[in-house]
């Protein structure tokens, strides 16, 4: 007798808190001749799924926590030209809708950068829960999306001699989250 596994659409219930030591939130943007990357750490994130499937996914990081390879560049990113960390100290994400299809997820939520909130759709993957070496239940959640940074007021650019802008507007955002179930 053959069995056909049902497509999983339910999220694992419970409150799942981020393991900040192993999770990562990063950005990647085309700059002149390559891809420039940076990250934010530490990050906060939480997924709550109630028995009736009500879902909440939230995450945030301090703008000051942006990590790049150079201190001068990092300080420039915090300035009013970029994140304006003085006036908009936190970068935040919130969603109340997470659709699952097997191990693929689609998340519709709102992203706030530089005090400006915009709707975003993220796609990614989710694992089934496993028990880690310490007896905790864990899931892995990866998400990514592309946003136009100018929608959030990050408008800096400089023209190259060929007339093209040095920095692209589209920025790829990625989150690789280890989530641990609250006891």
């Amino acid at each position: 007798m053959s069995t056909i596994a049902a497509t999983k659409t339910d999220l694992p219930t419970g409150t799942w808190n981020v393991d900040p030591a192993h999770s990562q939130v990063g950005f990647a943007v085309e700059y002149m001749v390559g891809t420039f990357r940076g990250s934010f750490s530490p990050i906060e994130a939480k997924l709550t799924v109630s028995e009736n499937s009500a879902t909440q996914l939230t995450g945030s990081a301090s703008a000051e926590s942006v990590k790049v390879q150079d201190e001068n560049l990092g300080t420039h990113l915090l300035s009013p030209e970029f994140f304006d960390a003085e006036r908009a100290p936190r970068i935040a994400f919130s969603a109340s809708r997470v659709d699952r299809h097997d191990h693929h997820v689609t998340v519709n939520g709102e992203l706030t950068i530089k005090g400006i909130t915009q709707p975003v759709t993220l796609t990614g993957t989710i694992t089934d829960p496993i028990q880690d070496a310490y007896g905790n239940d864990r899931i892995g959640l990866t998400l990514e999306t592309v946003v136009d940074r100018t929608r959030f007021g990050l408008n800096w650019n400089v023209p190259l001699p060929n007339g093209k802008p040095a920095l692209a507007n589209d920025v790829k955002l990625t989150a690789e989250l280890y989530l641990v179930k609250e006891a």
Partner: protein, 179 residues
Amino acid sequence: MTILGISGSLRQDSYNTLLLRNVPLELELWDGLKEIPPYDEDDDVEPAPPAVARIRAAVAGADALLFATPEYNGSVPGQLKNAIDWLSRPRQSAALRNKPVAVIGASTGAFGAVWAQAELRKVLATAGARVVDAEVAVGHAKERFDADGRLQDENLRGQLDEVVEALVAEVPSVVPVAA
């Protein structure tokens, strides 16, 4: 509230200094620009050269800055740019960091130092300042002031009002911080 006015012209009878005197607000006018030594990272140590320490303290203590710049060869006068270089270091505790600033300018030519103003805004933003998006370009400066140094053009006086209003609106005690 302390608004520091910095003229990019060192000349005694500078039109840009005169322009700052026409601003409808009590400014503290900076007169120590000429004493600032050329930026040299070897000299950028504690204690800073006295003229540098003075302007850094004045800028750090001001709520906002208003620059008036002439245009030399299509750009910002060297001594003004040099002062900004000092004020932009060290990066993380720089006096200019997050400081609300606005730029106005006067020139004896037709265009009122618009290129220098644009470049000065770029330099200030790169230095980490909070640059107000406003401009006052006083062209033909020789003919714009009366014998008492009063700016004669009502339209330009209105623009000065708007720049000052926009600058004051950026002072931290006025602006609520986002959650």
